[in-house]
């Protein structure tokens, strides 16, 4: 009889060990996915730079110093100065912060709204027609044009930029979630849930939604990247983040007139945009391969 508790502790230990093994296997699988690791690494590095970078420079993003106008990169100004003598390094850091904030907020908000629209339109046929025609309309309309007109009406503030981009990119999420939900909805276990008398809300949110999460994450990471580009474009056109505040698009706009004489005003913010977007896109591709083993990898193994 004394063997019984001994046996059960053994069983528990084995179970724990198996669980740990499973976890380390998942981590290994993620690490083996080079795309995801590179993308994640790039994104994390840029986030850290944006967060900590301004702390190690004595300059402020709005400090004007007319004597030091358009100075090339030096020990004093690591990325040079702009046409008002402002330090480009600090401005790029703050601009990156603003871009990341906008990208993150847009990705989050449009995911929440897009998921709700996608799930309900997949589940209720009449609603589907209405919502999908609206999304079709939004997608047919050029995103930039829509953003410009909305901001022209409501004024260029960071908040309005975020809200506009949410309107523009929610359809992308809603479409993907809907198409996934339509497949899951026809699964026998959803019919079985109906037969169990589960309510619609329960079926939609507890059973259909978790099955769409993996593609949602992938799509959201692309929306993150695209909205950063669009924000830079809007700022460049003068309808994004209002002028004295640093944003990657604003710096590019200021550098446009002096591009032949002051290359540093274009190269550094441009490189930052490329870095963020590249990191996000690679991460998105990697996550898709990681989360959905059925899709074929873009590159075959040799």
């Amino acid at each position: 009889m004394t063997d019984a508790p001994q046996f059960s502790t053994d069983l528990k230990a084995t179970k724990n060990r198996l669980k740990q093994e499973q976890r380390s296997l998942a981590i290994k699988r993620f690490l083996a996915n080079k795309l995801a690791v590179c993308g994640l690494g790039l994104t994390v590095v840029i986030c850290l730079i944006a967060l900590l970078g301004p702390l190690i420079s004595p300059h402020e993003p709005l400090d004007i110093n007319p004597i030091d106008r358009l100075k090339p990169p030096s020990l004093e100004h690591w990325m040079g100065t702009d046409n008002f003598g402002r330090d480009i390094y600090v401005r790029v850091m703050y601009g990156t912060r603003a871009s990341l904030l906008i990208g993150f907020s847009v990705a989050m908000l449009s995911s929440v709204i897009g998921v709700a629209i996608g799930l309900y339109s997949a589940y209720f046929k009449p609603l589907d027609h209405l919502l999908m025609r609206i999304t079709d309309g939004l997608m047919a309309f050029p995103a930039i044009l829509l953003a410009i007109s909305v901001i022209a009406v409501f004024g260029p503030t960071t908040q309005n930029v975020i809200l506009t981009l949410v309107v523009v990119y929610t359809p992308l999420i809603a479409r993907v979630v809907r198409s996934n939900a339509l497949v899951v909805k026809e699964q026998p276990y959803i019919e079985a849930l109906h037969a169990l008398g589960a309510s619609r809300t329960r079926i939609i949110w507890r059973h259909i939604f978790p099955n769409t999460v993996s593609s949602l994450i992938v799509q959201a990471s692309f929306v993150f990247a695209v909205s950063i580009i669009t924000e830079a474009m809007l700022s460049f056109l003068g309808v994004g983040i209002p002028a004295p505040h640093p944003s990657l698009g604003n710096i590019l706009y200021d550098g446009k007139n002096v591009i032949t004489s002051a290359w540093w005003m274009t190269v550094f913010p441009g490189a930052m945009i490329i870095g963020i977007v590249l990191g996000q896109n690679i991460l998105g591709d990697g996550l898709r391969d990681f989360l959905d083993p059925h899709t074929h990898k873009a590159v075959s193994k040799r």
């Binding site: 046929k125 699964q187 026998p188 276990y189 019919e191 079985a192 849930l193 109906h194 037969a195 169990l196 008398g197 589960a198 309510s199 329960r202 507890r206 059973h207 978790p210 099955n211």
Partner: protein
């Protein structure tokens, strides 16, 4: 009729609106199930047996489906109830188990969670109480070490175990009627026997009625009390299981019985088959639906649809000539068709 019927289906007709026009998948089906009784519904693919069960559960898409007749359950006609009332009946008073155990459980949750959820879908039960009820019902299905199984995901269990979990899920609210839609078709014969025993035992434990849908005559003989044989959307024979297997009256049922090889059959001989094929539902014959394939068919069969008549006590049949066929006085007018 009497109040003891758990469910009473009367003259049920189910029409689908398809691109080819209106198709009547279930045509004038009537049957009833009593407490502590298993009714077998037998027929080949497309004869309307699954549609009948989905009509009872009201799981069919209402946009493309029309119903006629009545399905009386607990004094209410299920066909006229609203969605709210229906979802309270589904799972609580009428439960259903399905053929495909792999895809009938959500792969993302443990089976324990799914049974608990079945309970919580009907009224506020604390998670702890629900977990206890789940453990009790799963133990009752005879799964070894139930505590452990409840924490596992569907893919970790075998097909037979998953079917037991499905049964536990269906029974956790103690329904009065269980609809089993080919629950053993995907299982091997040993597991099938265990699941059938389980259904019989649960039937008497919970004192519930069971509608058992299958195409396997052997299973019917083993577990059912009464049988309804369906052909092309109609019940063509309705009888106690003893009476049916002793003396099938409808030529189609006779054909089915003959098609089953027995232990005495000559292994060299070809198996018996019913000639011809089932007509399409969009092109239903005017008279008897089996006439074109029936060895005994006459002009009357082709011209006039037969009615479901009481042949002997508790044995109904839809055939003009059942008496003559039983006597042996009917001649095989259509014998040529049978040979070739």
């Amino acid at each position: 009729m009497s109040a003891s019927h758990v469910i009473d289906v009367r003259n049920l007709r189910t029409h689908f609106h398809t691109e080819k026009g209106r198709v009547t998948a279930v045509d004038d089906v009537s049957f009833h199930v009593d407490r502590n009784e298993i009714l077998g519904v037998v027929g080949e693919s497309g004869c309307g047996k699954s549609v009948t069960s989905e009509a009872i559960m009201q799981l069919l898409n209402p946009d493309i489906t029309d119903f006629e007749g009545e399905i009386v359950f607990g004094g209410e006609n299920l066909l006229t109830l609203g969605e709210d009332r229906l979802s309270r009946i589904r799972g609580k008073d009428i439960s259903m188990i399905f053929q495909d155990t792999t895809s009938s459980l959500n792969p993302l949750y443990t089976v324990g969670d799914q049974i608990i959820e079945a309970l919580q879908a009907h009224g506020r039960v604390s998670r702890k109480a629900a977990a206890e009820a789940a453990l009790k019902v799963v133990s009752a299905t005879g799964i070894p070490s139930p505590e452990k199984r409840l924490k596992e995901y569907p893919h970790e269990l075998s097909g037979g175990m998953r079917q037991r979990i499905m049964i536990a899920m269906a029974l956790v609210c103690e329904p009065r009627l269980l609809i089993a839609d080919e629950p053993t078709t995907a299982l091997d014969v040993t597991t099938q026997a265990q699941i059938l025993d389980l259904i019989i035992q649960m039937k008497s434990d919970f004192d519930m009625g069971v509608i058992f849908i299958t195409h396997d005559m052997g299973v019917v003989a083993e577990i059912c009390d009464r049988v309804a044989v369906m052909y092309l959307g109609q019940v063509i024979e309705d009888s106690t299981v003893e009476s049916l297997f002793e003396a099938p009256l409808h030529p189609y049922t006779k054909g089915l019985m003959q098609a089953m090889p027995t232990i005495e059959s000559d292994p060299q001989a070809d198996l018996y088959t019913i000639k011809g094929k089932v007509p399409s539902l969009s092109d239903v014959p005017k008279g008897c639906r089996f006439a074109a394939r029936c060895p005994f068919s006459t002009e009357k069969c082709v011209a006039q649809p037969p009615t479901l008549d009481v042949a002997t006590k508790g044995h109904k049949v839809r055939c003009w000539h059942w008496q003559a066929i039983a006597d042996g006085s009917a001649c095989k007018v259509n014998a040529g068709a049978e040979v070739g």
